[in-house]
Amino acid sequence: MRNFNIRGESVRDVVSGSNETWIRPARSTQEDPHDHHGNSTEHKKAFPVLAFNFEHVRKPFEISMWILLALLMKLGFHIIPRISHVVPESCLLIVVGLLVGGTIKAVEGTNAPVLDSKLFFLYLLPPIILDAGYFLPIRPFTENLGTILVFAVLGTLWNVFFIGGTMFAVCQIDGAGLADVDLLSCLLFGSIISAVDPVAVLAVFEEIHINELLHILVFGESLLNDAVTVVLYHLFKEFSHEGSVSVGDALLGVVCFFVVSLGGILVGFIYGILGAFTSRFTSHTRVIEPLFVFLYSYMAYLSAEVFHLSGIMSLIACGVIMRPYVEANISHKSYTTVKYFLKMWSSVSETLIFIFLGVSTVAGPHDWNWTFVVFTVFLCLVSRVLGVIGLTSIINKFRIVKLTKKDQFIVAYGGLRGAIAFSLGFLLTDSKMKHMFLTAIITVIFFTVFVQGMTIRPLVELLAVKRKKESKGSINEEIHTQFLDHLLTGIEDVCGHYGHHHWKDKLNRFNKKYVKKWLIAGERSTEPQLISFYNKLELKQAMMLVESGSTSKLPSVMSSVSMQNIQPREPPRRRAMPSISKSREEEIRKLLRANLQNTRQRLRSYSRHDLMIDPFEDNVSEVHLRKQRVEMGRRMSHYLTVPANRQEAPPVRKVGFQPEHQVFTYDDAESPRSAEMKPRSAAVRLLNELPQRSDQSDAEPNAKQDDQEDQLKLSRGLSDPGPNQEQKES
């Protein structure tokens, strides 16, 4: 007989819970022995085949359910394309949260889980910020740093005092029932509601693809205003109890601002350097490399929070400092892991935040005061617009590329508020005012996310704002970027002007000379940027080729221009070498085509395997791989630029036997041929050259033999690396 041991709680309690701890007392498990004792004395119970024990897994179960729900929602939106094109995802998620909150409230009547501030600040926010910081585009950020700082610091200050002051004036209006809201509380409220929120900005701006400058301005501002927010929030919170702020306190506040921001950056800097230094030694334990990146960054955030410094700035600084050195040290796979984990976590976090916002809206105690709320929304808009216009007129005096009216409009319109404001409001001490504030905050958030979020896309199209250009990783642009850097530095030197470029150049040289030696392992430390860019590009193309090998089309080749077209023309006499007959050519052509097809077929069955089998991941030497790439580049140019008349044997193909290499070196190893192999027609061209490469004193039989040898080598080379390893060792 089966016995169901149901614990004290019913299923209903599964979803109910306040924003307190999740821990349930263990009293239920203590009942067990009693039950057993009791039952065993009376009659022998059958061994419970099936038991129901929910308490045991309650907490992880609920967390997983929430995350799963969030992700399923996200999935759902993308399956229904029409809605997701009009409404930004953040809006949809909030609506889902509202529905879920409403359902829970209707079913339970008790409180649904609310967006716990601790949960938000310690678990949900860091992944998003780290993702943003790690992949921050450095060049536009540093070029516009002055502008960003002005918007972040001065803009936020202006917002706080304008909104706080005006709200205080509003509160003095009779009949609004707000007389008990004093100035400090208003300023506190202002400091909560003024800051532009990075999560909301990311969520909305990611979908509209505006140009890099505007994106980095708004986004950078949302990141850097954290220091101001932290300082002002704590300042006003401390003193709102006392009721007044003296001048001394205000001065201390200013000092505090510098301490908070610079301290946060310093903490991030230290952890970043530590992370970079650690990554130098991880060449033998590749699997845990991504963890170092995550943990050092998270520690930076937590350490900054310990001292009430700006955690966001610390996290950004850590990511920015760590990235160039870590990327030079870690393996390609670790880099991909870092990238995808960060994107994954930040995506989940963002989704959860918006859903919880919706749920909290339904749950939280509200105190709706028409005057307060309406004026708040109105003032937020007005102060943002005024602030942007005023600051831009100052900034434009110092900018080379001025901000146009369109730019200003987008910057002003992109000042979205989000969950940070809500969480800060939630942290206030309980009072009637708190509920009123929370209501107003939620209203502003809803307004900015829904109204501004939904309308910004059509507005961008209407105003014909410049969109983000698709960068294809062009090597020409990279060359010219570097060239331009040096050129501008040189011109500045000629002018005798120690400007932006001069200092950047000095920093680069310092970096190259001292820092890189310490933080980057092996010979990568001396690799110039252009070469690493080129290597990355080649790697990408090689991998694309491997992946596209399973389809018959080769998408990477869009034109039939090949290396041959650009090489300087040789004297005609070398070209007019009819050493093979037409029929021979046909044979060879057929053979080659057959081989290529075989290869493709084999690739289809083997490519998945190759990419998955990595038993020797840890032993793979990345340095070797890079050397091989450089070698390949060398050999490719060597072969191609010295066409005929070379009397040496075909270069020995050093095939890496590590399985990791099989992914890359499928093309690399066959380097002299692979570059030519890409277009089908080139195969024939290659073959035309083959006889020329062999000994000049060609008699037919010789040529034939060489051809066949080369042919065989070629076919072996093109065959799948896996099973034919032994054969290749020729």
Binding site: H497, I531, S560, V561
Partner: protein, 216 residues
């Protein structure tokens, strides 16, 4: 020397301002710098440039210096090189680095872009034949990598080859195996760097220069 500064209305300044678009203060400051570089002579020569210490560690120093003596940059449709330049030519070359003004029509912006790209093109096309050949491009990449503890000429070659291939693919699209791509013409160059936004990138701040403190 001091007198020059305090007389913004100098007749030659007006002429120069019109020609190059600089303001009087900027011309005054640049004139001071010119005199400093040339040791108060009337003309600048190449060795004057070589004396600038900061310029010594620049990988493309030679090309920058050459650009000043290249007649094609003097906006007079000249060709070839000169041995020494006066202040006017100095100023004209510098004016290539002026930022575009805020209120510009599309055509003006386009012409500013073309002008700046032409300057770059002239820097690459050293033999003055109107195309950047593979050899010249290779030279550019080699110079760029020269100060960086080079990994040898081979890598520079392969990078230049890849870059050239890209240009050819973009400009020509389809080529027969026997055709030969002569080199990058100015039109191809324009097409290549179409997305580069050079008018916002190739600029120097000409304000706030205090050359008295920088006696280098």
């Amino acid at each position: 020397m001091g007198a020059l500064q305090s007389l913004p209305g100098q007749p030659e300044y007006i002429d120069l301002a019109e020609k190059t678009g600089f303001s009087f203060e900027q011309i005054g400051v640049l004139h001071k710098r010119f005199k400093q570089l040339s040791h108060n002579e009337e003309t600048l020569r190449r060795d004057h440039f070589n004396e600038i210490p900061d310029l010594a560690c620049n990988p493309i120093r030679a090309q920058i210096v050459e650009a000043f003596f290249d007649r094609r940059n003097f906006r007079q449709n000249g060709e070839g090189t000169v041995e020494e330049i006066g202040f006017e030519e100095f100023l004209v070359v510098m004016s290539h680095f002026r930022p575009p003004s805020l209120h510009m029509t599309e055509e003006q912006r386009e012409s500013v872009r073309k002008e700046k790209l032409r300057f770059l093109f002239n820097m690459h096309d050293t033999d003055n034949d109107g195309t950047i050949t593979l050899e010249e491009y290779r030279h550019v990449v080699e110079e760029l990598l020269s100060r960086s503890g080079a990994l040898g000429k081979e890598t520079a070659k392969s990078i230049a080859d890849a870059a050239m291939l890209e240009v050819a693919s973009i400009s020509m699209g389809h080529m027969e195996p026997d055709e030969f791509y002569e080199g990058i013409t100015f039109e191809h160059f324009l097409k290549l760097l179409n997305e580069f936004e050079i008018e916002s990138r190739m600029n120097i701040r000409f304000l706030n220069m205090d050359t008295t403190t920088l006696c280098k």
